[in-house]
């Protein structure tokens, strides 16, 4: 016997009265996209829950995939069996074995089909006894069991539900609008993107590319990161901004102590323009207070001056180690630590000002006209669309043919 479905519970979402329907639809849509690589699976929406029917697809893999979808509170494997004692016994044992290492259990049965001859009080010991007979050292604990196995006797069969697996939490991606993520290739920005997505936000990303100072591999890194992020939502569009000319001009004409601050201000301006063009209402960054020179309170104040768009900084108050933990968990860490330069590390000055001021930044910028350069950068930026399977970039088709 094998599990034939995964039960999906959504916690927070269920509370949101009027939005509920939209959220459910979005969740179902995101799940469908997520499960594309398991073509046999189907999704059934019922009152307050969803079921993913496995139809022969590998249960663990499908579970892992579902665990990455935001808006899900918890999940369980389940199996629907005939209303026979034999099948029910086999099913509860299967469910018990899913909770590896469990030493105590409880069976909670419910009988919605009253024509079933046994009442709940008799179903529980009958099925519990079967588990006890087939295991060593396992006991029943009705108060604090390691695992609770739910048995629901219905007209269409008996549904046996195994242990809970945690879902990704949050809200279904795409239910709270869009943000433009400034994606560098480091450890922080993908985590910031992930945490924003967790609150239901759909992402587009902006990446500053400075060939030949940064290589194709640095860009590839960003594509790969976006692909990891896409696994938690749907597609991610990356707007790649050719940034070499702007950076060279800053390097040439701005005082070196301010070049980093001014570079960031230029990036903010370009990002805001792209956001505006795309109808995106906010920007998201991986800034974390005090982490590096550009992330002191003074720097943030000076950099933030150039935009009045909301800047979401999910990492602002997090420690580096907490950030690294998340990046490992979401699978971006190994990509982020690939040793390729990004545009922020290439022109880094020897002694960047850690306490820049708005007045000074404005004064230096007023000596040189950047407007043409910024417009050109926006104009010449191009878009790569990435989904969980790959990107639209470059020669993927040639590869398809080979493989």
């Amino acid at each position: 016997m094998k599990f034939d479905r995964i039960m999906i519970r959504y916690g927070e979402m269920a509370l949101k009265g009027k939005n509920k329907k939209l959220f459910e639809q979005k969740l179902k849509y995101n799940l469908t996209g997520k499960l594309k690589e398991f073509p046999e699976t189907t999704i059934e929406k019922t009152q307050g829950r969803m079921y993913v029917h496995l139809n022969g697809e590998p249960p663990r893999k499908v579970m892992e995939a579902c665990q990455k979808v935001f808006g899900i509170h918890s999940l369980s494997f389940a199996v629907n069996v005939d209303q026979t004692e034999e099948a029910m016994k086999e099913a509860v044992l299967l469910a018990f074995r899913d909770a590896e290492g469990a030493q105590t259990f409880k069976i909670s049965s419910k009988r919605t089909d009253k024509s079933f001859p046994l009442p709940s009080q008799e179903i529980n010991p009958m099925l519990g006894g079967h588990i006890l007979r087939n295991t060593d050292g396992v006991t029943v604990d009705v108060h604090r069991p390691d695992v609770e196995i739910k048995v629901e006797v219905r007209h269409e069969g008996v549904l046996v539900t195994a242990r809970d697996y945690p879902g990704a939490g949050g809200l279904p991606a795409g239910t709270t609008g869009k943000s433009l993520l400034m994606l560098s290739g480091g450890i922080d920005s993908p985590v910031a993107g992930y945490l924003t997505m967790k609150r239901g936000v759909e992402l587009e990303a902006v990446h500053f590319h400075s060939p030949p100072y940064t290589s194709e591999r640095a860009k590839q890194k960003v594509i790969d990161l976006a692909q990891e992020l896409a696994k938690y939502g749907s597609k991610v569009k990356i707007h790649v901004v050719p940034f070499t000319a702007v950076q060279q001009k800053i390097h040439r004409e701005m005082p070196s102590g301010y070049s980093m601050t001014i570079t960031r201000r230029m990036m903010m301006r370009i990002s805001e323009k792209i956001a505006e063009q795309r109808g995106i209402l906010s920007m998201t960054t991986g800034e974390s207070l005090g982490q590096v020179a550009s992330q002191t309170m003074e720097s943030m104040n000076t950099i933030n001056e150039v935009t009045n768009y909301p800047v979401i900084r999910p990492l602002a108050a997090m420690d580096k180690l907490e950030i690294i933990d998340i990046s490992r968990k979401i699978g971006t860490y190994d990509i982020s630590i690939r040793p390729f330069e990004d545009c922020c590390t290439v022109f880094v000055p020897k002694a960047p000002k850690t306490k820049p001021t708005r007045a000074n930044a404005n004064y230096y910028e007023s000596n040189t006209d950047f407007s043409e350069d910024l417009e050109k950068a926006v104009r010449e930026s191009y878009t790569i669309e990435v989904d969980a399977q790959g990107s639209t970039d470059q020669h993927e088709d040639a590869f398809d043919d080979l493989l």
Partner: protein, 379 residues
């Protein structure tokens, strides 16, 4: 030509060779090179790994491309033993493993490891309980093949794996070289930590394959050097071979169900034909794998039969190609406790999906004729 030695190796698919050639011509740069040619090749390698992972239901970084079954088996057995020897030096395997597993274990014995070899029954099967009984607190590795290469017996790796799940520090390796495409092997569900597969058994090219290594398993590398293959296997990657392997995997998976049905039909046809013949006795049991049929013609030297068939353009084999230079007795059949006549006269027919019912018919006719001639000559 009727080629019935597909357990030894298969003929590469034309599409696979086309991919190999194109990759070798166009993507020749070293994927570790910094320039854009190198980075393109790196992306192709990356894509190959992802595709392999998705076809095999593992994560991309769990796929280590190797030069084939022998390397994969050595890497798994020695790699686990050397890496985890401080936890214990006891290893378990079966007496009917492929030489690349058995000899790796023997080599470890010479380094001070203790190995328990589990025997098989007359069907060529190990008993999961017996394996579990052999497990001790210092057992760090259990290695059992999924499908035996000579007999085609399907080992109870599911049962063993599920039972070993309660011992997370005892790793479980499965040599799946003969089973790939023929039987499913859900590593996660069955608690398999390492799994060896090979390219040239599935119409790929020689010198390709993979060891699938679950995330939590660390290995002592056989090959030290550069940081290729997640530092588990140094050496410039065999990109064309890998591309060809992954292509073969894709074709395998696309046609899997249809091919399985076809192989079962061929097997049924052959078994029925052979069981009607008094001169031969079937060694493969009814519940074995679809593509391997082993039988003996007591009294006739297998080499002679093979040469007689070879003259008619029909190619079968004795025991596994890797063992066939050793003396007459088949170690696998001997382990099944068959008598001497049977263990010294075994022949193996192994199909691929490209064989037809007509092939089987012609083979059986040719076998009848060869046996008639040879037996007459012996009188």
């Amino acid at each position: 030509m009727i080629y019935l030695d597909n357990s030894a190796t298969t003929q590469p698919y034309p599409e696979v060779l086309a991919s190999f050639q194109k990759a070798a011509e166009q993507y020749f740069a070293n994927p570790s090179s910094i320039h854009s040619l190198g980075s393109e090749v790196e992306r192709l390698l990356d894509r190959s790994r992802k595709q392999a992972a998705s076809l095999l239901h593992v994560d991309p970084h769990e796929v280590i491309f190797t030069s084939g079954g022998t390397e994969g088996n050595n890497m798994a057995v020695k790699g686990v033993a050397l890496q985890h020897q401080n936890r214990g030096k006891h290893l378990i395997t079966t007496s009917i493993e492929h030489p690349s597993v058995l000899e790796a274990f023997r080599a470890l014995e010479s380094l001070g490891f203790e190995v328990t070899y589990i025997d098989v029954d007359r069907k060529g099967l190990v008993d999961a309980e017996t394996v579990m009984d052999a497990v001790r607190p210092d057992t760090i590795l259990v290695s059992v093949m999924s499908v035996n290469n000579e007999l085609g017996s399907i080992q109870p790796v599911e049962e063993i794996g599920r039972k070993l799940k309660s011992r997370p520090k005892t790793f479980f390796h499965v040599d799946h070289v003969q089973g790939l495409g023929k039987i499913d092997l859900p590593m996660d569900e069955w608690g398999i930590d390492l799994c060896t597969i090979s390219g040239h058994k599935i119409h790929g090219v020689k010198g390709t394959g993979a060891l699938l290594v679950r995330k939590h398993v660390s290995l002592f590398p056989l090959l030290h050097g550069g940081s290729q293959e997640a530092e588990k296997r140094a050496g410039t990657e065999n990109l064309p071979g890998t591309v060809a392997f992954v292509k073969a995997l894709r074709i395998l998976k696309e046609e899997e169900q249809q091919n399985r049905d076809h192989l079962w039909k061929l097997r049924k046809q052959l078994r029925e034909a052979l069981s009607r013949r008094s001169y031969c006795v079937l060694n493969s049991s009814e519940d074995g794998v679809s593509h391997i049929t082993n039988f003996s013609i007591p009294g006739l030297k297998p080499e002679v039969v093979i040469h007689a068939l070879g003259e008619k353009g029909i190619y079968i084999s004795t025991k596994s190609a890797c063992s066939s230079k050793q003396p007459d007795v088949s170690a696998v059949l001997k382990a099944c406790n068959f008598d001497y006549d049977r263990t010294t006269s075994a022949l193996r027919v192994s199909f691929s999906s490209q064989n037809t019912e007509e092939d089987i018919k012609q083979f059986v006719d040719a076998l009848d004729e060869a046996v008639r001639h040879l037996q007459a000559a012996m009188r």
